[in-house]
Each structure stands twice: as structure tokens, then as C-alpha cells.
Symmetry: C2
Subunit: 323 residues, 2 copies
């Protein structure tokens, strides 16, 4: 079975780990990773979502934190502070720095990000084929108004520095309109037996991937069923601050509203099936009415096995809607 999943960072990576556990070694998973939260720091190209997927599936993730490396040290960051070189608000450990140094060196040598990602994964052996959504630079920016007046900040500044505490007035994936899907991305969607939208952020993770021209169209036109899992449980994001960015695109923070935001395939949208948490069982009928097959199952990724069970539910729903 060939499965293609779109994925952001922590939520996506944890789901993928469960998915892999639910499958056999013969199954093939391709992950199309969000690169909209990429940022240049200290002259280095940092790809937080790709790395979170790579580290999580490769066994190098800081488990409790959800991002960054296990057994991390922080000497470089200490020195940066001593040099007065920021930003201080972004956490890059020494081991993580090494990844960014290798990536930046390869990019400077002319390799596209997809080739660099493949080379990094040669070490981590994540058990999936990890593709960046695009080899072109796309960076998500957020329009806000705070004490400094109206301004546009990089997504990481909004998310990590400001903790999404101010209203996101608009979210723009800078560079997306002229970006091309990375090699293999459209093929992975077209040739998949199943396309999955994990419980990643529907706006700044999966939403950003879908802004790359051709990707949304490919998902909408996929011959395989497309099944998603709600990142909203009981009216709030399970993790992160998805509610802040959902508001910016005029979407209510509810499992049903996110499903309608993705839309039903029969109406030109993306979804054939949608899983909501058991606590949102009341939303099942509403989603079904919108033309999306919906089931309520436990959606808390409290362990790899619990997550694998979510993946099995997605596979079961796909089998049902794919008939």
C-alpha cells in the first residue's frame, strides 16, 4: 500500500510514527512536509517541520519537548548570547545546529532542499520518504498589530516569540505563489492508494502545503481516498495554538468547521473522510451532511500504540469511502 501524507511538525510527526507502527514494512509512506515555517537564523537554513518529522521517526527527538534533539547541549546558543547575536527566543541546540550547518552547506553547494533532505534522512532512516513541499523558498508571515503598531512578522516570531498571544490578522505564505512542488510530490499524491491529512495545523502546516500551486489540485484530483484527522478536540487544539490562526482565516475552532474548511471532494474540496475525537461525536452528522464520511474515535496521541490505533481508524475509513 502506498500512503501519502501531508505533515507539519510535532502533531504530524507523532501521527506518522503511529501510522508507521500500524503498517507493514511492505507499505510505503511518502510524507510531504511543510517548509513554510523555515527560517534563516545565523545565516543557516532551519527547517523545523522537516526536522521534527525526521528526528521523531528517526529516534532522535526530544520526546517530552516534541521538537529538537534528545541529549542536547546548548553551548553554541550560550556563545551567541555572549556575542550579542540573536534571536534569543529561538531554541537551537548544538546537535540541532549540526543539522542546519550540513543543510546550509549542501544548499550552498547547489543541492535542492529535496536532495538535502534525502541526504539527512540517509542518516536518520525515518522509514518514510520525506519530501519538502517545495524546493523553492516559501516562508509564512503573519500580520499583527501590537505595541509596535501594525507589522508583519515571520511565523516563527509570531509562534515562538509572541506565543500567538496577539491576533493574527492575516497569514501569508510568502513566495508560495511562484513556488513549484518538489520533485515527486505531485506523483506521490497521484499514485497513492491513500492520501492522509494528519492532525497537523490546518492553516500554517497543511494549509501552507496546499498553497503551493498544484498540490491542492493534486489532492482534489487524487484517485485514492483522502482522509483527515481533526487536530481540534473538544473545541480546542490538542497542542499548539491552531485556534489563533484558524480565526485569521475565518474558521471556527471546531472539528466540524475544520472539515468544512478542507471541504468535501464532491464539492471540489479535499476530503472523503474525516475522523473526529469521541468527545466530538456530535459533529459526525454535521460533517456527514457536508458530504464527508465521518467517524468519532479517540484522537489523543498519548502513546505510539494509541496513535497507531488512530491510523488504523483512518485506514478503515479510507477502505469504506474508497469502495
Amino acid at each position: 500500500m502506498r500512503i501519502t501524507a501531508l505533515a507539519g511538525g510535532i502533531g504530524g510527526a507523532r501521527f506518522l510514527r503511529g501510522l508507521r507502527a500500524a503498517l507493514t514494512p511492505e507499505d510505503r509512506i511518502t510524507v510531504i512536509g511543510n517548509t513554510g515555517d523555515d527560517i534563516h537564523l545565523y545565516g543557516l537554513k532551519v527547517c523545523p517541520d522537516l526536522d521534527t518529522v525526521m528526528y521523531t521517526l528517526g529516534g532522535g527527538i526530544h520526546e517530552e519537548q516534541g521538537w529538537g534533539r534528545t541529549d542536547e547541549t546548548w553551548s553554541v546558543k550560550e556563545e551567541m548570547k555572549a556575542y550579542g547575536v540573536g534571536p534569543e527566543w529561538f531554541g537551537l541546540g548544538d546537535r540541532d545546529f549540526a543539522t542546519h550547518i550540513v543543510r546550509t552547506q549542501m544548499l550552498a553547494a547547489g543541492y535542492p532542499l529535496s536532495a538535502v533532505t534525502e541526504a539527512l534522512c540517509d542518516r536518520w532512516q525515518p522509514g518514510v520518504r520525506l519530501l519538502p513541499m517545495s524546493d523553492d523558498r516559501v516562508e509564512t508571515h503573519v500580520r499583527i498589530t501590537d505595541a509596535d503598531g501594525p507589522r508583519v512578522v515571520h511565523f516563527q516570531e509570531y509562534w515562538v516569540r509572541l506565543h500567538a498571544a496577539v491576533e493574527a490578522e492575516a497569514i501569508v505564505a510568502v513566495g508560495a505563489e511562484s513556488a513549484k512542488p518538489a520533485p515527486g510530490v505531485l506523483e506521490a499524491i497521484a499514485e497513492a492508494d491513500l492520501v492522509l491529512l494528519p492532525p497537523s495545523n490546518p492553516v500554517v502546516s497543511i494549509g501552507t502545503i496546499l498553497t503551493v500551486p498544484g498540490i491542492r489540485e493534486a489532492v482534489a484530483a487524487a484517485t485514492a481516498p483522502v482522509v483527515g484527522l481533526s487536530p481540534i478536540v473538544g473545541g480546542a487544539p490538542v497542542r499548539g495554538m491552531a485556534d489563533k490562526v484558524l480565526a485569521a482565516v475565518g474558521v471556527e475552532t471546531s472539528a466540524a468547521a475544520v472539515a468544512r474548511h478542507y471541504g468535501a471532494r464532491r464539492d471540489g474540496g479535499l476530503l472523503d473522510g474525516w475522523l473526529v475525537d469521541t468527545s466530538d461525536a456530535a459533529a459526525v452528522d454535521e460533517v456527514a451532511t457536508a458530504g464527508i464520511a465521518c467517524r468519532a474515535v479517540p484522537l489523543l496521541m498519548s502513546s505510539v500504540e494509541a496513535t497507531a490505533e488512530m491510523a488504523r481508524a483512518a485506514l478503515a475509513l479510507a477502505a469504506e469511502v474508497g469502495k
Copy 2:
């Protein structure tokens, strides 16, 4: 008093620390640092000699090792090995990496190396004005013949990887002929009350600085006395492998031969005065005969105070020849 010193790495840095201790806070030291052993590693610009001077005078040096940082950690290098990215033979610790990351970022932003060095020194406060010999890229390469046949290797590969164990057939400062002295270098030599050649390597440290067009001429034409200290004691380098590179330029490994290599100012050379170690007292007459005032004093930099005493001897000799 304004003193300008040319300097390489460990030997030069330790001498400068003694020199600073021998002077008053009103005295001004300008150091013209060798950048011929600079190397690009992992896409980062590494300046080993500038950093050794900066760390040594700024209190950040690994004292026993002579290079690199105290309290160093090695996570980045471990990760590089895990990624299969070399070279493994060059020791860059995490704290050191931070310096190279900041430097590379500033260079990429368009700052010349001299401005970058000044910015880095803002943190370290080395108590001297540290200038790179040039803002232009100059890298020393060594021609060797080994099991891989005749080939040219970067100086660092020759020195650090091969431990200078094969014969250096030729030494070339690539880029030197079209390099310009960094801003302030020629002025610092012309306006000095004393020019010092510390016991740095006469070929690949001071020799390389002198290959930058204009610098040798400026030293030869300086109004101030020029005094040097022998890096060769008892027919061998005090530290390092200067004998290997002296042979490549046809110079015997002796305190007198190095003095003759620099040459007497009366003959268009560089030196007014030369200090040799007490164990080389027999060389004093030979050097004097070559037109260079020479004294034998203890030249082992066993402590800052012992080194300060060497500096005082150099100041005394300068006062004598400057009359």
C-alpha cells in the same frame, strides 16, 4: 608607546599576552594576524590564528591545548560524524563553532573580515587592536608527495591531518599576490614606535603575512625599530613543526638562520634586533655580523611572567637599536 606586532597562532598569542603584561594600559598594541591558515569548513569561515589570539588575550582559550575554547563541548562534531560529513581531523568544538557561525553570517552580510574581527573582539576585549593581515582571501597550500602521489594540500591538512610528517616541497600563499593589506595595517606599521616579530612560525605565520604586497615593504621602511624573537631554541622549534616548513624555503632550523632569513634592515631586510635563547648564545656573534643587534635571553614562554620578561628584553633591545 605604540607597538605593532605580526602574529600567528599559539606562539604569537602567548607572546602577546606577555607583552601586554609588560606594558602599561596607556601603551597601544596593534596585532596584524595571519589569515593564511584560514579554511572553509562545513561552509563556515574558520580563522584559527585570529581566534587563537582573540581567545588567548580574551581569557577564553583552552590553556593546555593552546587552541580552541575552554569548557568546550563537542556535540556538533559528533553529529557531523553521524552525518558522515568531514573533515574529522579538524577539531572544532561547539563554542568555537559559534564564533565561526557569527563570522560567516557577518561576511555573508557584506562586512569585511577586519570589521568582523573587530565585532568579535568587542566581546573578547583582548586589550589589543587585532587586524587581519588582509580582508582578501589568502590560503596557504603545501605541495607534498605521498602515497597518493604529488599533490597540493591545504596548510591545515598538512599541519593537522598529516602532522607535517611528509616533506613540504613548496609552500604557496594562494591569493596573496592580489591581496591588499587590511585597512589600518600599513598605517599601524608606519606609525608604530616599535615593530615586533614574535616567536611565531617564520614561514607559515609571519612569512605569510609578509607575502601580502605592501606589508614586507612597510616593515622594511618603518621608522620604528624592528625587533624579532627566535621561535627556534637549541636547533628545534619550541612548539610546532617550524623545522618542516623552514626546510621548504631552504632555511636551516637555527636561531641564526631564521634571523638571516628575515634579513638585516641595512641590507633591505626586516630586522634591527633579534633575541635568541640563552642556549643559543653562540649565535649572537653570527647574527650581529649579519648586521642585526642580538642578545641571548631565556625564550621559553613557561608563564605569563616569563613571557613578559621576554617582551621587556625585546623592548630594551629596541630602545638600544633605536638610538
